[in-house]
């Protein structure tokens, strides 16, 4: 009896699998809070999900056949505890024909899977880059992301903005992946598979998001103590939004005389050794570029919302939100904290 | 917990000859396979990093260690001769050839020492100088370490020979040790080719 139960459990498992996968595909036209790989919104991710469904069907088929045979054997050939029958079953040592059959059939399945896979590898990995593609250089740092747009002259951090790539107006984004320290991995499941970000080893990946909105992901290669909080946020903008964003980012930092005290704190308290604010003396490269800090929705690589209170607390002691972050607590006085927060709050 | 044992005897006693290979040789061959994998990794690292140093001395500063190589390779020959001498129970000849092997190996090691001295003190290449230094000293050093272990084995046998303890029946053990020595020499051929010919 227990055997049937086991078998029922497995059929339930397969059913559950299909049940969970299909709704995922149905919603496949927009960003989601849960970055399900079966909710693709970009060509590489969508191609992969189709291949995945194919592979899952093939393996599910194998499972049903072999698992079914096994369940049958378990039920049919179990010892029924007949004490009077002491005979051993017939001893069978093997059969070349049968064994040949179950060698050849798997080989055929492997050939099919392999050819399908190979085609997809070349289609995604060697896709020709269109001349009008947006170029972004992604630099992985412990534990945040730097984004440079070499053609547009923009440097920003942690929130990647890319244009929508509609079918009418295709505009893919090509990401060149570099690392400043250790190995990271760039993974936004709804947009593309992951690609590692390796020091001294340039990688390339591409996305062409089909629906606007915010896509989330995170670093997928362990990179140190705060690896878990190295989150990824990709904002897919409509062409108009993107143009406006680019225009704002290209401006130098806002110069607001009312927060001159805060700026002085920033420039005298070692903040500027690590951070750049374009148009001021601060040109550090170790931490994120803060020129347009207020254009970002989050702080600390997506860990906390960008509110004045969070910003102040973050500056006071980054470990409150991200224990192990490389930014030190600078031991600022309350007044200095207020001033520098006020200054940063002007950097729209 | 009885020490009693039931022994199954075969239903029919096989009359055929039952011989199995020497466990010492099997073990040494296994060790050689394992060691080969270690050397492969170091050789691959060396080859991969040829020309990848960002600064510092390049492999052009190396001088081909001709004498060393001749000594080490001929020691393989002398150890083979000494094995044959032992098989024929010519103990004096065995001892002499064995000592010669040991001397040739020692010359190799001393030669490597001089080479390294020159590299470190005159040419400014240490293990931490650059990638070339790291890979060079690691690979050549790994081989030299094996030569050292080989020399310890050879010396032990030589001492026993001088004490008159080595007999014809030890032939197989001597062969096992000789196998290791041949391996060390064979590795040198690879290291020599990679470091002094391909990499220079």
């Amino acid at each position: 009896m227990s055997r049937e139960w086991l078998r029922a459990k497995y059929s339930a498992g397969v059913g559950l699998l299909l049940f969970l996968l299909l709704p995922g595909l149905a919603f496949a036209d927009g960003p989601q809070a849960t970055p399900n790989i079966f909710a693709p919104a970009s060509t590489p991710a969508s191609d992969i999900s189709h291949l995945a469904i194919f592979a899952l069907s093939v393996t599910a088929g194998i499972f049903v056949v072999v698992g079914g045979l096994l369940a049958f054997a378990v039920i049919r050939f179990r010892d029924r505890g007949d004490k009077s029958d002491k005979r051993e079953p017939a001893q069978i040592y093997g059969s070349n024909q049968i064994e040949l059959a179950w060698t050849v059939v798997p080989i055929l399945i492997v050939v099919v899977l392999f050819l399908t896979t190979a085609r997809m590898i070349f289609a995604i990995q060697d896709a020709p880059k269109p001349p009008h593609a947006v170029d972004v250089t992604v630099v992985g740092h412990q534990f945040w992301w730097e984004y440079r747009y070499p053609k547009l002259g923009i440097t920003t951090a942690n929130e990647l903005h890319v244009p929508l790539s509609s079918d009418k107006q295709p505009q893919p984004t090509y990401l060149k992946l570099l690392s400043a320290d250790v190995v990271h991995s760039f993974w936004v499941p709804q947009l593309a598979g992951k690609t590692d970000v390796i020091p001294n080893h340039e990688n390339l990946t591409w996305i062409d998001p089909k629906a606007p909105g915010l896509y989330v992901g995170q670093c997928a290669q362990f990179c140190g103590i705060e690896h878990a909080d190295m989150l990824l946020r990709v904002y897919v903008d409509t062409p108009e939004q993107f143009a406006a964003w680019v225009k704002n980012q290209q401006e130098p930092a806002v110069q607001d005389p009312t927060v001159a005290e805060g700026r002085r704190v920033f420039e005298t308290q070692a903040c500027m050794n690590c951070h750049t604010i374009r148009g001021t003396a601060a040109t550090g490269r170790f931490g994120p570029d803060l020129t347009h800090l207020m254009s970002r929705e989050t702080l600390a690589s997506g860990v906390i919302p960008n509110t004045p209170a969070n910003l102040r607390q973050w500056i006071e002691n980054p470990d409150t939100f991200k224990p192990g972050a490389l930014m030190p607590a600078m031991q600022l006085t309350d007044q200095q904290l207020d001033e520098v927060t006020a200054y940063l709050e002007t950097l729209k | 917990m009885s020490a009693t044992t039931l022994i199954p005897r075969g239903p029919v006693t096989t009359e055929e000859q039952w011989s199995l290979p020497s466990r010492g040789k099997i073990a040494m061959y296994s060790l050689i396979i394992g060691e080969s994998a270690i050397f492969t990794i170091f050789v691959v690292a060396y080859v991969f990093y040829i020309g990848k140093s960002l600064y510092g001395p390049t492999p052009q500063i190396l001088e081909v260690p001709v004498l060393n190589t001749i000594c080490l390779l001929s020691s393989s020959f002398t150890i083979w001769l000494s094995e044959r001498a032992l098989e024929r129970n010519k103990m004096k000849l065995f001892g002499a050839l064995w000592a010669l092997t040991l001397a040739l190996g020692a010359v190799f090691l001393v030669g490597t020492g001089f080479e390294w001295y020159d590299l470190i003190y005159h040419k400014g290449l240490t293990i931490s100088t650059n990638l070339f230094g790291t890979t060079f000293y690691s690979l050549v050093g790994l081989h030299a370490t094996h030569v050292v272990f080989g020399l310890i084995g050879l010396t032990t046998v030589l001492i026993f020979t001088l004490m008159g303890k080595v007999k014809e029946e030890h032939c197989e053990r001597i062969q096992v040790l000789a196998l290791y020595w041949h391996f060390v020499d064979a590795v040198w051929v690879v290291v020599f080719t990679v470091v002094y010919i391909l990499g220079r």
């Binding site: 001893q91 991995s185 997928a220 | 199954p8 990093y49």
Partner: protein, 563 residues
């Protein structure tokens, strides 16, 4: 228990009767200085069970932490240490020593030898392995120089450069890892050499290689594989140590070194290692499934060929752990093919086990229950392996919880299940007493339920984009519900494991007396007493077929007529 009494008896009692019980000191000295393969085997196994419990405790801490988003059960650095040590422990201190222990105990008995080829090397290997493990765990209490207390490695079990360099890992965790695994690696090499020498030079009369029980065959192939897989790791660890202590630049990306080279070196070891770990499961299945199905193994030569084939192919698949590092499309394609080809010999194995059961009279004692579950789970683990070999799909799944689910299906669902079955099967041989069937059944069902609750669910959280190695996750990702289920399953498994440990201890005194051959089995280890005497066999046995005890029990229809 057996219906048959073996018709031929030969007795030899060379040990004088002990007059008094040994003192504690004598007992310790006996075990520490022993060169007996059975005692060393038992020590290996006890060592691996201890580390199974330790690694399991680490897993429980991990599961408590991940039950809730933004959890603070342990600090991030502690969490990183926990999962690094969990992985390292289960692979190096539990999985491999278990193989060594079981092989040490059973293999010489099966091939009719009196001990391993080099008993003292055997003891040396064990103590090196043991010392390596203890040194690794000493890192938890050993200080990091003068400025810290405790410094276990915290950089994942694959130790990717350059995170392991002095600049990014200033303490001594990496050093503990590299040095202790170099030490235990030498022990492993010793074991492998010893096993090969034993198999090739110590078989009893009549036991040609193709009459050797499949268990011993698998152990042999695993040893051969170990020779060429543990050594690259040792080499890479030597390089890492050179980098850290002598200022070398092997993996120093600032000086032109390559992080990718470390990945290659690690996975050239790492992938075949997975097969080394799964081989004990194959070995156990090869014994337990035929005995409890009451049939000879189906397709013995094909099973041997498949084992060798898996070992051979496994050496050419390592870069499927590296589909995301940006290899060329051609290399990616090559590794897809080689990886999928592993499915062919693995399929042969599954089908042959299935065919062995087909037409048999399957007795569902505890060992067979575990092995049946092993077959189911091994099938699924193999199929998710095929899924992961599809490189583009792997770009999504790599380093996600889907991968964790896949390899735990292999390591727990296949290996731990088979190993548990192996325990129930050989325990009577080693102790003279049966393990309790009642506790055994509880152990089995609880473990089966807990396993599926945990690891079936884990696949889905991976498909939802949850990466591995993270100590917390944002609340809005929607991963919490599945994680709660996964953790609950984990706790059920923990209860099952504790029952198992209890059973091991309880049965030692209270178990039913087993007799020589409680399962009515066919290989030579069941011909000697339980536990076997120091010399195993008083008279060297002589065999004519793969199942010498079958021949004895069925003189009217012996195996050798058909081979």
């Amino acid at each position: 228990m057996a219906d048959h009494t073996l018709p031929i008896g030969g007795t030899l009692d060379v040990t004088p009767e002990r007059l008094s019980r040994p003192t504690f000191l004598e007992w310790v000295t006996d075990w520490v200085t022993t060169v007996d393969h059975k005692k060393l085997g038992l020590m290996y196994i006890i060592y691996s069970v201890v580390f199974l419990l330790v690694g399991g405790a680490e897993a429980m801490a991990i599961r408590i932490q991940l039950m809730f988003p933004n959890s603070h059960f342990v600090a991030p650095d502690t969490y990183n240490r926990l999962f690094t040590m969990h992985g390292t422990t289960m692979v190096f201190l539990m999985g491999m020593p278990f193989l060594f222990g079981l092989a040490n105990y059973v293999m010489p008995l099966q091939i009719g030898a009196r001990d391993m080829a080099f008993p003292r090397l055997n003891a040396f290997s064990f103590w090196l392995t043991a010392f390596g493990g203890l040194m690794l765990y000493y890192s938890f209490i050993g200080g990091s120089g003068l400025y810290g207390v405790g410094n276990a490695p915290d950089v994942t079990w694959w130790f990717y450069a350059p995170l392991t360099s002095r600049a990014f890992s200033p303490g001594h965790g990496v050093d503990y890892w590299a040095l202790s695994l170099i030490v235990s690696g030498i022990g492993t090499l010793g074991f492998a050499i010893n096993t090969l020498a034993t198999v090739f030079s110590m078989r009893c009369k009549g036991m040609t290689l193709l009459r050797m029980p499949l268990f011993s065959w698998v152990v042999t192939v695993a040893s051969g594989l170990l020779l060429i897989t543990i050594t690259p790791l040792t080499a890479a660890q030597i390089m890492l140590t050179i980098d850290r202590y002598l200022g070398g630049h092997f993996f120093d990306t600032q000086a032109g070194g390559s992080a990718v080279v470390w990945m290659h070196f690690f996975w050239i070891f790492g992938h075949p290692e997975v097969y080394v770990l799964v081989f004990p499961a194959f070995a156990i299945a090869n014994e337990v499934i035929p005995v409890f199905s009451r049939k000879a193994i189906f397709g013995y030569p094909a099973m041997v060929a498949a084992t060798v084939g898996i070992a051979f192919i496994s050496m050419g698949v390592w870069a499927h752990h590296m589909f995301t590092v940006g290899m060329t499309s051609v290399s990616n394609t090559f590794f897809v093919l080689s990886t999928e080809l592993v499915g062919v010999p693995t399929g042969i194995k599954i089908f042959n086990w299935l065919a062995t059961m087909w037409g048999g009279k399957i007795r569902f004692k505890t060992p067979m229950l575990f092995l049946t579950a092993f077959l189911f789970q091994f099938l699924i683990a193999g199929l998710t392996g095929i899924i992961l070999s599809i490189a583009p799909f792997d770009w999504q799944l790599h380093n996600s919880y889907f991968v964790i689910a896949h390899f735990h299906y292999m390591l727990v669902g296949a290996i731990i299940f088979a190993v548990s079955g192996g325990f129930y099967y050989w325990y009577p041989k080693a102790t003279g007493r049966m393990m309790s069937e009642t506790i055994g059944k509880w152990h089995f069902w609880l473990f089966l339920i807990g396993f599926h609750v945990t690891f079936d669910t884990m696949h889905f959280v991976g498909l939802e984009g949850m990466p591995r190695s993270i100590y917390s996750y944002p609340a809005d990702r929607g991963w919490q519900h599945l994680n709660v289920i996964i953790s609950i399953g984990g706790f059920i498994q923990a209860i099952a494991m504790l029952l198992f440990a209890y059973n091991l201890i309880w049965s030692l005194r209270k178990g039913e007396v087993a007799g020589n051959d409680p399962w009515d089995a066919w290989t030579l280890e069941w011909a000697t007493s339980s536990p076997p005497p120091v010399y195993n066999f008083a008279v060297e046995p002589e065999v004519r077929s793969r199942r010498p005890l079958w021949d004895l029990k069925h003189p009217e229809d012996p195996d050798w007529k058909y081979e």
